[in-house]
């Protein structure tokens, strides 16, 4: 019972009326920051830091933590509705979330994103309570060799599962690595591919790249159609279906565990966790052939992962005093500002703060769910804006988002360059999310009545073969008994 004492005390601390209000304020600001471009949680926390000086430390940290995990909820909204990632951790949500919007299922995608975020966020807080000190030590054991192995594993998986052609995926992965070498060499300080410009000295930032590859390229592709055919379909429902819940359960569970573990690692965080979850779903999800074409798994898994990671990243900060990412560095600054030194002694020296902040996360996640579900109906009204007006608004969001990274026009130029280049490579079939013909055939087969009646083990092996032997797609199929409708579609 002794162990439960501080936890109960934490709940009592977090549920004081004033602290509930600060928690609410934090998560509302976080949601707004997540939705709006150009404002990230790190910048917002930096802006609000002086304002928290008058608060007591527990209230201050409760509010600032709310901004961070609240932004993970909000980040998915623009990814799903207009294919612009509100936060970099919502990048992969663009793939299936936006496809669902195109199919008139924006409400289901937004609802599932909020629910997955809630489940993962709450479960991760549970994990934070139970295994925080243990995982803190595990994170410290990760050295350069482990990180390099993790990176190689990630790249290999992305290339292998990324699209219809291994050669194209590998070429894109290597191009990405080559672009990452732009800027000052971190060891020797030598300038690489900067062409004498100041703007490239720090390398190419991810935000303009994402905004270009997703936002701008998408608007360009829509421009291929005449204005009267550009409008996105009106959403048919506001709530995920029963089947959506069934399909999303396992991805949410996997995303939560994966996100939590990756969030704990210094240098890791919500972005890596969401990408890792998407890659995992491409391998393990029941309907993996449909991923990239509007599958609920592609929204539920990554959204669960980025929230679990946001919570997990508090572990190294609270237990070791090591910030796992830039937002946690801002939190460290906030704690230091209030004269608190996070580290192994924090639990014993400031149990009210440690357990109070953790308990407030339960409250914050519940508040976020209550806030976000009714907002689904409001957000999807965006789709009713005529596309000739929506398109420049999307461009404007991308322009502001890119510019605000460093305050240089060069960032906007980078975004435009990646937008036009991304559009071109999409036309050439290099877009990892679109998958190509073979995958869509797999999807059709998995949806056909015959496929549904086959045994699950056969379905698994067949679906796996979709990935391993793309060449088979060109072989004429003359198997009898195929449904007439499916034959006609071919």
């Amino acid at each position: 019972m002794d162990a439960l004492g501080p936890i109960a005390q934490g709940f009592a601390t977090a549920f004081e009326p004033a602290r509930v209000l600060y928690c609410l304020l934090g998560v509302v600001v976080g949601t707004v920051v997540g939705v709006l471009p150009g404002l990230g949680p790190a910048a917002t926390i930096a802006l609000l830091l002086p304002a928290t000086y008058r608060l007591d430390p527990v209230s201050a940290v409760i509010m600032l933590a709310g901004i961070y995990y609240g932004s993970q909820y909000g980040g998915s909204t623009t990814s799903i509705l207009v294919r612009i990632p509100g936060e970099s951790s919502s990048m992969v949500t663009c793939y299936d979330g936006y496809e669902m919007t195109r199919q008139g299922r924006a409400g289901a995608a937004l609802g599932m994103a909020a629910l997955a975020s809630f489940v993962a966020g709450t479960a991760a807080v549970g994990g934070l309570m139970v295994v925080a000190p243990l995982l803190g030590r595990f994170a410290l054991a990760f050295g350069p060799a482990e990180y390099a192995s993790l990176m190689i594993l990630g790249l290999t998986l992305v290339a292998w599962l990324g699209g219809a052609s291994l050669l194209r995926s590998l070429a894109m992965a290597v191009t990405g690595l080559l672009l990452a070498t732009v800027g000052q060499d971190p060891v020797a300080g030598v300038e690489r591919f900067t062409f004498g410009t100041q703007a490239l000295l720090d390398g190419i930032d991810l935000v303009p790249v994402f905004m270009g590859l997703f936002g701008i390229a998408e608007v360009l592709e829509t421009m291929e159609r005449p204005p009267d055919r550009q409008r996105l379909p009106a959403p048919t429902g506001l709530w995920p279906t029963r089947r959506d819940f069934r399909d999303a359960a396992a991805p949410v569970a996997r995303g939560t565990v994966l996100g939590f573990l990756l969030g704990v690692l210094p240098g890791g965080g919500a972005t890596i966790a969401s990408i890792a979850s998407y890659v995992t779903e491409k391998r393990f999800a029941k309907n993996r052939a449909r991923l990239g074409q509007g599958a609920i798994e592609g929204v539920a898994g990554p959204e669960a992962a980025n929230n679990a990671a946001a919570t997990g990243s508090f572990i190294p900060l609270l237990t070791l005093g090591i910030p796992a990412n830039v937002v946690m560095a801002m939190m460290l600054a906030a704690l230091t500002l209030h004269g608190i030194r996070p580290g192994p002694l924090l639990v014993t020296e400031h149990p009210d703060l440690f357990w109070g902040v953790i308990a407030s996360m339960y409250l914050g996640n519940a508040l976020l769910l209550i806030l976000n579900l009714p907002l689904v109906g409001l957000f999807i009204q965006i789709l009713r804006v005529p596309y000739p007006v929506l398109a420049p608004l999307i461009l404007l969001f991308c322009l502001i988002g890119s510019y605000s990274v460093t305050g240089q026009v060069a960032e906007v130029a980078t975004m435009v360059g990646f937008g036009v280049g991304g559009y071109l490579f999409r036309k050439l079939g290099f877009d990892g999310s679109s998958g190509g013909r073979w995958r869509s055939r797999c999807a059709r087969r998995s949806r056909s009545p015959r496929a549904a009646s086959r045994s699950s083990s056969r379905a698994r092996s067949r679906s796996r073969s979709c990935w391993r032997r793309p060449r088979r797609s060109r072989r004429p199929r003359s198997r009898g008994g195929r449904p007439a409708a499916a034959r006609r579609r071919r």
Binding site: L178, L220, L396, I400, V412, L428, R474
Partner: protein, 155 residues
């Protein structure tokens, strides 16, 4: 479909070969270092070689198959016009925003997109352009204190 993608492979291969060539040229002076102690040029050069090999493989694969068209969406003159207008508007924005400032260039972007690309009437276009330009400037620049591009001549 197969043939379309084959041609796409060839074009993609050529583009990536060009990128590898640019990277090779721009990075030729970077110190390579030794195997035990890689220099700043080690990683870029290895990646350039790898990219060139992959691009070449894509090109060969593309050429080895029949090559009809993947440019179907661009055949419609209206689509070509819209795509070029939008690309031009974005490039123009980047070029002009440093001089003319956020308000004017953003309004101009809206005029091109709503009138030129979307084909809306002038009144509608001007109202939307003015409202969105000034509204976003006030919301982001003033209320939320986001850094917006400021021109040499105008805000």
């Amino acid at each position: 479909m197969t043939a379309r993608r084959a041609r796409a492979d060839a074009v993609g291969g050529v583009l990536l070969l060009l990128l590898a060539a640019v990277a090779g040229l721009a990075g030729r002076a970077l110190p390579f270092g030794a195997p035990g102690q890689p220099g700043a040029g080690f990683f870029p050069r290895a990646l350039t070689l790898l990219l060139a090999a992959l691009a070449l493989a894509l090109l060969i694969r593309g050429l080895a198959r029949p090559a009809p068209d993947f440019t179907e969406p661009w055949r419609d003159p209206g689509a070509r016009r819209r795509l070029l207008l939008m690309t031009g508007a974005l490039v123009g924005y980047v070029a002009a925003v440093g001089t003319l400032g956020y308000l004017v260039t953003t309004a101009a972007l809206f005029v091109v997109m709503v009138r030129g690309v979307g084909g809306r009437g002038w009144t509608h276009t001007l109202v939307v352009a003015a409202a969105c330009s000034a509204g976003s400037w006030y919301l982001f620049g003033r209320l939320l204190r986001v850094t917006l591009p400021a021109g040499a001549l105008l805000p």
